[in-house]
C-alpha cells in the first residue's frame, strides 16, 4: 500500500487537482462529491504517513494537516479540505524536486567515480568493473580515460586532471613513481600503474563518504530547531484547542493548526548547510559538517604554521658551510645517512640533496634517535652525529663559537633555516635550507582580512630571523618562532582562553595536536593524507591557500543564508497567525503561503550552489603578487 502510494504520488496529486478543477467547472451537486473525493484521494497518503510517524512516537507535520482536514470535513468546508490536501501533496512534490537539486553538487562528485578499468592479466588487456580490481594489479589508462584506483605510475607519462580530488581543473604533469588518484582523468598521454588502494579505500571514495557524513551532521542551530519542532508540533495542537475554546470557532482553530506548521523552519537550516558543504566539496574543500561550518564562520583569529602552509613546503639546500678540514663530500654523505632516520621535511631535504649529488648513502645507522622539534642524534660509522637547531646544541652542551654563530645568523637573515651539524661534540658544518612563500599567500591573507578576520599570526618551529622575514613579507599581525609542537598547542589554548575563536591551519601531520586544539582545524591536504582527513574540521585538498579564504567566505555565506531562512520561516508564520486572528487569511490561502515559504527557503539555499569568491577582486590583488618571493 505504502509503496503503491509512494510510486504513484505524482499521479495521485494530479487526480486530486483534476477533481478540484472539474468541481468548479461543472458545479451543482457534483461539486461537493468531487471535492470530497479529491480530499480523500490526496488525504489518505498524508494520513497514512501521519499514522506511521505516530507509531514511532513522532509528531509529524502530516498529523497536523490530517487533524485539520478531518476538522474541515466536519464543518463541511469541502473546498478548503480539498485545496489543503492538494497543496500539501503538491508542495511535497516540489520540495522533493528542489531538494534533489540541492544535493546535486554531491551527485556530480559521485558521478565522477570510475566505472571500469583495464587490467593487464597474464599479458592480456581485460576491461572489468572498477571495483573488481585487486590490490597490486597492473592497470593501463589511455588519454580520456579515468584512473580507477589509487596507485603509482610504473610506465608512461601523462597530464592528469585531478578536479575530482582537488577541485582544480588545470591538468598536472605526472610521470614514473608519481602517485595518481582514483577519479582523476588522463588528459593526454598514457600511464601504466600498480593498484595500491581499491574500491572504498581510495581517497576519492573516502572524500565521498566524508562529505555524505558531513552533510548529515547537524549544527547546533539545527539540533535546537529539531528539538524545538518536537515540542512545537504537539504544542500547536494544544494551542489550537485553546483557540477553539476561546473563540468557539472551529474554522479559526483549524486554520491556526495548519498555519502554525513548522515546515520551513525544519527544512531551512539543513538546506543551507547541505548546499554549502556541497559547494565546498566541488572546490576541493571538505567541511566536516554543519557544526564546523558554524564555528568557522565565527573565527576572528587565524594561526598559520609556516612550513608547508604559508610556504611551499618544498625546501632546498641553499648553502653548505664546512668548518675545519674534513672532506665536505664525505661529511655530507654521513650527514645524509644519519638523516635517513628523520621524518622531518628538513631531514628529508638533506637526504634528497645527497641523492641529487649522486652520493651513495646506503648502509645502516648504528643508533639513532629523533628529538622532536629539534633534530636528531645518530651514530654513523662509530661517530656520534648531533644534527639540528640551536636548542639541540645547547641541550647537548655543544659550544657554538662566535665564528659559527656569525655564519648562522648571516644565513638566517637571508631567510634560511640554519642546521648545525656536530660530530663527536664539535660543530663541523652548517647546512642552510630555504623554502619559498606560496604564490597565493598574500592574496589569501588580504581576502581573509576583508572577510573580517581580525588577527592573523604564524607559529613556527623555524628560527626567529626566517620567521620575522616571512611575517613581514606577508604583513602578519604576530609570529612566534622556535616552537615545539606542544608550544603551538599552548599558544592556541592561550588564544582561546583570551576569548578568540581560533582557526589553526597546518600540514596535518606535525601540527595535528594544535589543529585538534583549535576551534577550527584546517589541514592542507597534499592530496589527502588519512591523518589530516581525520583530525581536521576543514581539509583543503588542492593544498592551496586561496581555498582557505574560499572556505572561510563560504562558511560565512552559508550561515548568513541559514539565518535568512530562519527569519523567512518565522516571519511567515507570525504574519499568517496575525492574518488568521484578524480574519484576512483562510485555510486554503494560508496553506498556499505556507507551502510557498517552504519553497522560498529551499530556493534561497540553492543560491549557495553558485557561490564563488569575487573574481574581480581576485584579479586585482593577483597582479600585485607577480614577483616571486624567495626565502
Amino acid at each position: 500500500m505504502q509503496l503503491f502510494i509512494n510510486r504513484y504520488k505524482n499521479q495521485i496529486t494530479l487526480i486530486s487537482f483534476i477533481l478540484i478543477v472539474s468541481a468548479f467547472l461543472i458545479g451543482g451537486d457534483f461539486k461537493n462529491i468531487a471535492l470530497i473525493l479529491a480530499t480523500v484521494v490526496a488525504g489518505v497518503p498524508i494520513a497514512l504517513k501521519a499514522y506511521q510517524a505516530l507509531k514511532m512516537k513522532a509528531f509529524s507535520i502530516e498529523l497536523l494537516v490530517t487533524i485539520a482536514v478531518i476538522g474541515a470535513l466536519f464543518i463541511q468546508e469541502f473546498v478548503e479540505s480539498a485545496v489543503v490536501t492538494f497543496l500539501f501533496m503538491f508542495g511535497d512534490y516540489l520540495e522533493g524536486r528542489t531538494l534533489e537539486k540541492t544535493r546535486s553538487s554531491l551527485k556530480e562528485l559521485v558521478d565522477m567515480a570510475p566505472q571500469e578499468a583495464t587490467v593487464i592479466r597474464n599479458g592480456v588487456h581485460e576491461t572489468i568493473p572498477a571495483e573488481e580490481v585487486n590490490q597490486g594489479e597492473r592497470l593501463i589508462v589511455h588519454a580520456g580515460g579515468k584512473i580507477p584506483v589509487d596507485g603509482e605510475i610504473i610506465a608512461g607519462e601523462a597530464s592528469i586532471n585531478e578536479a575530482a580530488i582537488t577541485g582544480e581543473s588545470i591538468p598536472v604533469r605526472k610521470k614514473m613513481k608519481d602517485a595518481v588518484f582514483s577519479g582523476t582523468i588522463v588528459d593526454s598521454g598514457y600511464v601504466e600503474l600498480i593498484a595500491e588502494k581499491v574500491g572504498d579505500d581510495t581517497t576519492f571514495a573516502k572524500i565521498i563518504e566524508l562529505v555524505e557524513e558531513a552533510q548529515e551532521s547537524k549544527s547546533k542551530t539545527e539540533k535546537f530547531l529539531n528539538k524545538f519542532a518536537a515540542i512545537y508540533t504537539p504544542g500547536v495542537v494544544g494551542l489550537s484547542l485553546l483557540v477553539y475554546l476561546l473563540t468557539r470557532d472551529l474554522h479559526i482553530a483549524i486554520t491556526f493548526l495548519v498555519i502554525a506548521c513548522p515546515g520551513a523552519l525544519v527544512i531551512g537550516a539543513p538546506v543551507s548547510n547541505v548546499v554549502g558543504i556541497g559547494n565546498g566539496a566541488k572546490h576541493g574543500i571538505l567541511i566536516k559538517g554543519g557544526e564546523a561550518m558554524d564555528n568557522f564562520s565565527k573565527v576572528d583569529t587565524v594561526v598559520f604554521d609556516k612550513t608547508g602552509t604559508l610556504t611551499k613546503g618544498k625546501p632546498e639546500v641553499t648553502d653548505y658551510h664546512v668548518f675545519g678540514t674534513e672532506d665536505p663530500e664525505e661529511l655530507f654523505k654521513d650527514i645524509a645517512r644519519a638523516e635517513l632516520i628523520s621524518e622531518h621535511h628538513l631531514g628529508r631535504t638533506i637526504v634528497q640533496a645527497a641523492k641529487k649529488r649522486g652520493l651513495d648513502i646506503s648502509g645502516d645507522v648504528d643508533e639513532g634517535e629523533v628529538i622532536k622539534g629539534n633534530g636528531i642524534r645518530a651514530t654513523v660509522d662509530g661517530r656520534l652525529f648531533v644534527i639540528g637547531n640551536r636548542k639541540l646544541m645547547e641541550k647537548e652542551n655543544i659550544a657554538i663559537t662566535q665564528e659559527i654563530e656569525n655564519v648562522a645568523v648571516d644565513r638566517e637573515k637571508q631567510g634560511n633555516t640554519a642546521i648545525f651539524v656536530a660530530v663527536e661534540g664539535e660543530i663541523k658544518a652548517i647546512i642552510s635550507i630555504a623554502d619559498e612563500i606560496r604564490d597565493d599567500a598574500k592574496e589569501a591573507i588580504s581576502e581573509m582580512r576583508q572577510n573580517g578576520v581580525k588577527k592573523i599570526m604564524m607559529l613556527t618551529g623555524d628560527n626567529e630571523y626566517t620567521a620575522r622575514l616571512v611575517a613581514e613579507k606577508l604583513g602578519l599581525d604576530a609570529y612566534d618562532a622556535e616552537l615545539l609542537p606542544e608550544d603551538k598547542v599552548e599558544y592556541v589554548k592561550r588564544l582561546k582562553d583570551e576569548g578568540h575563536v581560533v582557526a589553526m591551519a597546518g600540514d596535518g601531520v606535525n601540527d595535528a595536536p594544535a589543529i585538534a586544539t583549535a576551534d577550527i582545524g584546517v589541514a592542507m591536504g597534499e592530496g589527502g593524507t588519512d591523518i589530516s582527513m581525520e583530525t581536521a574540521d576543514v581539509v583543503l585538498m588542492a593544498d592551496q591557500l586561496k581555498q582557505f579564504s574560499h572556505a572561510f567566505s563560504l562558511s560565512k555565506a552559508s550561515m548568513r543564508n541559514m539565518k535568512q531562512n530562519i527569519w523567512i520561516a518565522v516571519g511567515t508564520v507570525v504574519l499568517l497567525l496575525i492574518g488568521v486572528l484578524n480574519g484576512t487569511v483562510h485555510l486554503a490561502s494560508g496553506m498556499f503561503i505556507h507551502e510557498a515559504s517552504v519553497l522560498v527557503v529551499i530556493l534561497n539555499g540553492m543560491r549557495l550552489m553558485a557561490f564563488k569568491r569575487d573574481k574581480k577582486k581576485l584579479k586585482n590583488s593577483g597582479t600585485l603578487e607577480t614577483d616571486e618571493v624567495v626565502l
Binding site: Q52, D92, E95, L99, E216
Partner: protein, 73 residues
C-alpha cells in the same frame, strides 16, 4: 558482523529517517542503523546469521521506500 549500505530513492521528509531507523533497530540481529538523509542511504551493521540483508531490504520496502541498490561488505 556484516555491514550493508542500501541506496534508496531520494528521501524528502525528515520523519522518514526516524521511521526507517526505528523499524530496522527493532529487528533482531541488527546492531547499528544510520540513515543518511541527504544522500538517501541506509547504513546497517547486523549479524548475517540472525538476519539476512534481503530481509532488511524487505522491511525498508514495506515502509514505502524503494531500494535501488545494496552493497554488502
Amino acid at each position: 558482523m556484516t555491514k550493508a549500505v542500501f541506496q534508496l530513492e531520494p528521501l524528502t521528509c525528515p520523519t522518514c529517517v526516524k521511521k526507517i531507523e526505528t523499524a530496522l533497530t527493532n529487528q533482531d540481529g541488527v546492531d547499528m542503523v544510520k540513515v543518511l538523509f541527504n544522500s538517501s542511504k541506509v547504513k546497517a551493521e547486523f549479524d548475517e546469521k540472525v538476519v539476512e540483508h534481503g530481509e532488511l531490504e524487505t522491511i525498508i520496502e514495506k515502509l514505502g521506500y524503494t531500494v535501488k541498490g545494496t552493497k554488502v561488505s
